[in-house]
Amino acid sequence: MRLPPGVRGILVAFGAIGIGLLVLGFGLAASGYDALAALSALFRGGFGSGDAIFSGLLPRAVPLILIGLGIGLAFRAGALNIGAEGQFYAGAIVATWVGLTLGTWPQLLAIPAVLVTGIVAGMLWVLVPVVLRLRFGVLEVITTLLLNFVAEALVSWMVQGPLQESSGVYPQSDPLPLATRLPQLSGTRLHAGIILVLLFAGALWVFLRFTLAGFRLRATGAGLRAAAVVGRVRTDRVFGGALLVSAGCAGLAGAMEVSGTTFSLFQNLSPGYGFTAIAVALLARLDPVATVGTGLLIAGLQAGSSAMQREAGVPAVAVRVVEATVIIVVLLADLARRRSARDGGA
């Protein structure tokens, strides 16, 4: 079948989600849940009402899209960043600390300070994997992944120790001062960060399509040896740079989450954003603009998953099955496309 690539991509995306939902439905039914009730709760909770969209879907979409953009960039360069979850937490921790410390600063300075330190924290969190990969050839998949666990332990320590709220009772930080909070859309849980994210998506798209640096990044991911040998691309730098940027995105997402949505730090701040964003990026075929779309879709699923838990008793984490299926379907669809192209369609 010869379809224009954009249409094909959208079909695959919806097909993948559809199959994912089917798999979830069957799995739930086989485990004894009321699959139909669960799935309908899932839809309603995510897409069913204005409130669902503005206070459920969109606030979740912001970190998902942002992290997804970063992961997409890294994957495009051939760098498999599976540590976005840990980088997110690194950003959240530092942002919380900075926010609490800079409470007296004016908003115009405080907010950027919080966000920038979040970016830097995320980057620092991926620095060790970058060095290990470039210097010693250790697969970044493993190293970034291991650091996720370290970050989770770190958060636990912070909220039970140095960053714990003043009364010393609950494992969470003090609420962030008003000056460090991102402005919100009144009546909803959506914060101004979404503007930043959308702009970033556009900028990334331009970067990859129209700049030489973006082209070289794509070359590095598509053919590392050829890019280095014949294109004389400094693949090490491109690779490391892509990882740093993607970690910065995750860190920024963490900072935005505490500054714009939760206003404090606690354990399990992230419902698995770092992993879900992988599905978001892959489903969008690593294209920045498409990532916005897939991020919205999957954010809806995530928002719906808590409704699913409330109403049908299905643990929210079950929605991971959909994500996993989505990734696998996209992988297979990609393979099929490549195979048919190779055989010349004869």
């Binding site: 060790v128 636990s156 991971r320």
Partner: protein
């Protein structure tokens, strides 16, 4: 240093190392064939759940059988999608683990109610080996363990023999070093790789059973907490050789058991630091180990 404390620590180290050793041995088989299976974490978790369900239904050995079956089942997805169809191994494995986390969480809640009521399953008893179990210090550490640990010990030479002294093992290694040449020599590369992945899955499932039936005594969501990935690191550290993997697993078992030892010293260090240690240690070791160790040449390539 109190002798009883030291012995207790060593015994804990071996006990904690057992699931790591089993998972690493399995992953080594898979990787010798050229397949990095990151779904091993998911397989281990599935094995833990399988052990829980099986043991509740029919006792510990039933649990072991279900665990191995669950591990093989989960790995079969990796075998199908990645080996048979040729999709990217790393992404496939990650997706499978993701899915396994979600699936096991859902199934467990359904079977045992919300908030996972603390089960107490009949676990495997300690089985001291006569004579050897009496030797000072290492006796209790190595030879007063459960039967699953002894199984793991025995698995080391068996797997060595399988890899290096059988025609199947030769075919597997050929597929891992150079799939193209192996194919030219008549090896059914995809089949032998898939077999390697399934064996790895079975071992991972068994490792999950060990967690439930010889350590913790119950299931908890995401209880493997990255042990599968640590096993992948152990394979690297052990240079894809069963005997060295044995040593590396003990090393990590000790690192994880440290928290028990040091907590009784109340150093004023928060316990989370001990939680972080195994992972940080893994990173350190990976940096030092790679370069000296050479992976199978076609590892990770379709």
């Amino acid at each position: 240093m109190d002798m009883a404390l030291l012995v207790g620590f060593l015994a804990a180290a071996v006990r904690v190392a057992t699931p790591l050793l089993l998972a690493a041995l399995g992953e080594a088989v898979s990787e010798r064939g050229g397949v990095i299976n990151l779904g091993i974490e998911g397989a281990m978790l599935a094995g833990a759940l399988g052990a829980t369900l099986g043991a509740s239904a029919g006792g510990p050995w039933m649990g072991v059988a279900s665990a191995i079956g669950a591990g093989i089942l989960v790995s079969s997805i990796v075998a199908l999608v990645s080996v048979r169809a040729g999709a990217d191994q790393i992404i496939t494995g990650t997706a499978v683990t993701l899915g396994a986390v979600g699936f096991t969480g859902a199934v467990y809640r359904q079977a045992y109610g919300p908030a996972g009521v603390g089960l107490s399953l009949t676990t495997f008893p300690i089985l001291p080996v006569p004579l050897l179990g009496e030797t000072p210090i290492i006796g209790p550490a190595l030879f007063q363990q459960t039967v699953l640990t002894y199984l793991a010990f025995v698995a080391v030479p068996i797997l060595w023999w399988l890899l290096f002294r059988t025609a199947w093992g030769l075919r597997l290694r050929a597929a891992g070093e150079s799939a193209e040449h192996a194919r030219a020599a008549g090896v059914a590369v995809r089949r032998v790789r898939a077999e390697g992945v399934l064996i790895g899955g079975g071992f991972a499932g068994l490792a999950g059973a060990t967690l439930v039936l010889a350590q913790v005594g119950t299931f908890a969501e995401n209880m493997t907490a990255g042990r599968g990935f640590i096993a992948v690191a152990i394979v690297v550290l052990g240079g894809w050789q069963p005997s060295r993997i044995f040593g590396a697993s003990l090393f990590f078992g000790a690192a994880m058991a440290l928290q028990f030892l040091l907590q009784s010293f109340t150093l004023g260090v928060p316990y989370q630091v001990f939680l972080m240690m195994p992972y940080l240690l893994t990173l350190l070791v990976l940096a030092g180990a790679v370069g000296q160790r050479r992976p199978p040449a076609d590892l990770g390539r379709a």
